[in-house]
Amino acid sequence: MAHQSELIEKDILAYLKSQEEKSLLRFITCGSVDDGKSTLIGRLLWDSKMVFEDQLAALEADSKKVGTQGGAIDYALLLDGLQAEREQGITIDVAYRFFSTDRRKFIVADTPGHEQYTRNMVTGASTAKVAVILVDARKGLLTQTRRHSFLVSLVGIRHIVLAINKMDLIDFDAEKFRRIEDDYREFAEPLGFSSITALPISALNGDNIIEKSVNTPWYSGPTLLQFLETVQVEDDRAGQPFRMPVQWVNRPNLDFRGFCGTIAAGTVRPGDEIRVSSSGLVSRVDRVVTMNGDLDEAVAGQAVTLTLKDEIDISRGDMLTVPEAAPLFTRHPEAHLVWLHDEPLRPGQLYLVKSATGITPGRVTDVPYAVDVNTLEQKQVTTLGLNEIALVRLELDRPVPFDPYRENRDTGSFILIDRFSNATVAAGMVSEAVELESHKAQLAELEPETGSAWTRRISLSELSATSLNVVDLTAEYGTFILEAPITLLAHLEKGNRVLFRLRDLGQLPAVALLAYEHNLAFEFDRTLEGISVLLFKRGNLPQDKVDSDTGTGI
């Protein structure tokens, strides 16, 4: 392995220490069949010494039997794992490969370049931060090059390596190299990548893969490995507003109620105010619990367990966020859909939609347009077949928290599952919600009654129907009386709580009167944001929902 062997031999503890700060980069290779993807990755593994002697012996034997190099070592065989593929001589699925240097660990998705395998490319790209797009120097840009570039941009990859391969077959011609690079930059302009780095390489012979090639004196940029080791893949998630889909409620006993999940964006600390996507209820983080001790801070990417200061109803399917930047909470997301299955989309049919917060039944109601992956033109379609991409509108059985995909891959993505075959049939990326449903309770004002013109009545009739538990009174002026319909009282009876946000203390008597009239209790809280009052039925603390926590709803 490309590790400092000297340090390993002399001072293994110092070496181990130095390895603790290593970062991780996931990238994908794409290109047409025979452009050299498998050879390139085989080469990276080889040169970073991830191939062991016994694997080498097997590789030599395999190269003689089924290799394409006339008995010489065929690096592609390191990659083309499955027997069926080896016999066919093409890669047919996504393979993951690993290698590491002293600076980084790499996970490579090797994806096939065959026409009909858009599916595998999108799969491999979904977790990648960089795409290495291979081009055969003799052929230049092909339709597939354009398609792959569009797909990786759709899936949110910002950094492109244009690896112009087989330079040995065009005598390392600088002119031809530059022409391909220019063509590509012009084509890729509208795709808006953050960086495009063109490299003249020979995967077969190793030119500019690890070491600078003597065959390309005219090229002064980095080698492929140098680039991969140093490229800054901005993890801007840490700087975004906090988000954590609740994956599991951990309730070992009555004294502990932890919300487990992987932080999708931002940071969280004890004392932070968080909001529950479904109810709008707000509380504060009490502890960030891990087996290695409580944390002062946790960041995007970490899998943690949060406990809250208040006992509010939260289950799998909820998303915890900062109150100021709530996610979309919608039944009608609009999304780009990549169809992954032989059986075409049936608009109107019920599928299972799996997102970061769990599974919700839903259907595609509308396909405004499909995108031709070769020309990027929009076209009218009635359905979607394998490897086709379209903008669609969905209707979900209940609201689900989402972010736009371009802001967050984890909270903006979903898959569609066929209810009967259980096949994963499509991948979705949310662009926006079709109509933003209001999170706030509607405050319907009643006509002032004769004789009491100075006292307004505000009905809370919308509350229980929508199960939204926040009443925002901060925009209300003057005195008023709150009216609670029977449905709201039943809602509270079930253990739900309603949070009132007050503009000032003058509004407190209205809430107190409501509590007095209906035998309710309340908690008063003054925070930086203002005054809030939590109204609930005493002796009816929120139900333990751990058991009903399947998230499937069906």
């Binding site: 700060e21 794992g81 799969t123 502990f256 970061a356």
Partner: protein
């Protein structure tokens, strides 16, 4: 942006996410515990995922009856310490037929005692998800396996018909009888495992550390004489050598390496400087080309 996680922190978080997802979506999961270093890491991650609660699923050990004695001792100690419920399953039919690695050859023996045994246990307890500690870097056919790997009602893996796996959104749907094998360590390499064991102080079976042990040389491998069931063939002599194991399984099928490395850093040092992969010590992989892939299609883990 300085708060970027290290590679081990990212791998750990991904594994914990996977383990929690299984518990949230399956009715009856189980964790296959093979007692080796990968299992040790997987068990540690399971404890982390649900801390302070105990992990809400049992461990399953498919005992071939030929494991190293120290492995069984270690297993029982770990179960006691971690509070997991342990299910031990032995293919009694195989035992009754006297199937052993000596009498029936490694291929048939593995098939009956390991593969068949595992299927029996999964069927008996009706587990719908089973965690396994396999890594994609172990072997070529594993490189293409999904993290959530679908198995038909008769436990077969169909490499040509795998569900696409995108982002960290795992399709957990199965029909009655079908199941999913879940590999939370898919993206870890052997080096990652060792580094993590070092960093987190995870206990491992002492056999990984070098010590003077009785061994015989057989088929080019050093086989440890772990009990008196190992009959010496003509010309074989028991030697006492300082050896350790890079991988643990059934003692008659697991080759030792000569080594003086008796601390974790020394083991890692040796691993980094060595030029053979860990599977080399396993007899079953050498039987035929693509053999692992064939075994997997038939339900071997």
């Amino acid at each position: 942006m300085t708060s970027n996680l290290t590679h081990l922190q990212q791998l750990e978080a991904e594994s914990i996410h996977i383990i929690r997802e299984v518990v949230a979506e399956f009715d009856n999961p189980v964790m296959l515990y093979s007692i080796g270093k990968d299992s040790a890491v997987m068990l540690h991650l399971a404890r982390k995922a649900f801390y302070p609660a105990p992990a809400p699923f049992p461990l399953l050990h498919v005992d071939t009856t030929w494991k190293f004695r120290e492995m069984i001792q270690f297993r029982d100690r770990m179960v006691e310490e971690s509070g997991f419920k342990l299910i031990v399953h032995v293919n009694e039919e195989g035992v009754a037929r006297g199937v052993s690695p000596f009498t029936h050859g490694s291929a048939l023996y593995t098939d009956v005692m390991k593969t068949e045994g595992l299927k029996q246990a999964l069927d008996r307890y009706k587990f719908d998800a089973a965690f396994g500690g396999a890594r994609r870097d172990e072997e070529k056919s594993r490189a293409k396996e999904r993290i959530f790997s679908f198995r038909s009602a008769n436990h077969r893996w169909d490499p040509k018909n795998q569900r696409p796996e995108l982002w960290s959104l795992y399709n957990t749907r199965v029909k009655p009888g079908e199941s999913i094998r879940v590999f939370p360590l898919s993206n870890w390499t052997e080096l990652d495992i060792w580094q993590y064991i070092h960093l987190e102080n995870i206990p491992i079976v002492p056999l990984y550390y070098a010590a003077v042990r009785p061994v015989v040389e057989r088929d080019g491998m050093l086989i440890m004489v772990d009990d008196d069931r190992l009959e010496l063939k003509p010309g074989e002599v028991v030697q006492h050598k300082s050896v350790r194991f890079r991988t643990l399984g059934c003692y008659p099928l697991t080759g030792a390496v000569e080594s003086e490395a008796d601390t974790l850093p020394q083991i890692i040092q040796e691993m980094l400087l060595t030029r053979t992969s860990e599977r080399q010590g396993r007899l079953i992989d050498h039987d035929q080309a693509g053999s692992m892939e064939k075994k997997k299609q038939e339900g071997y883990f």
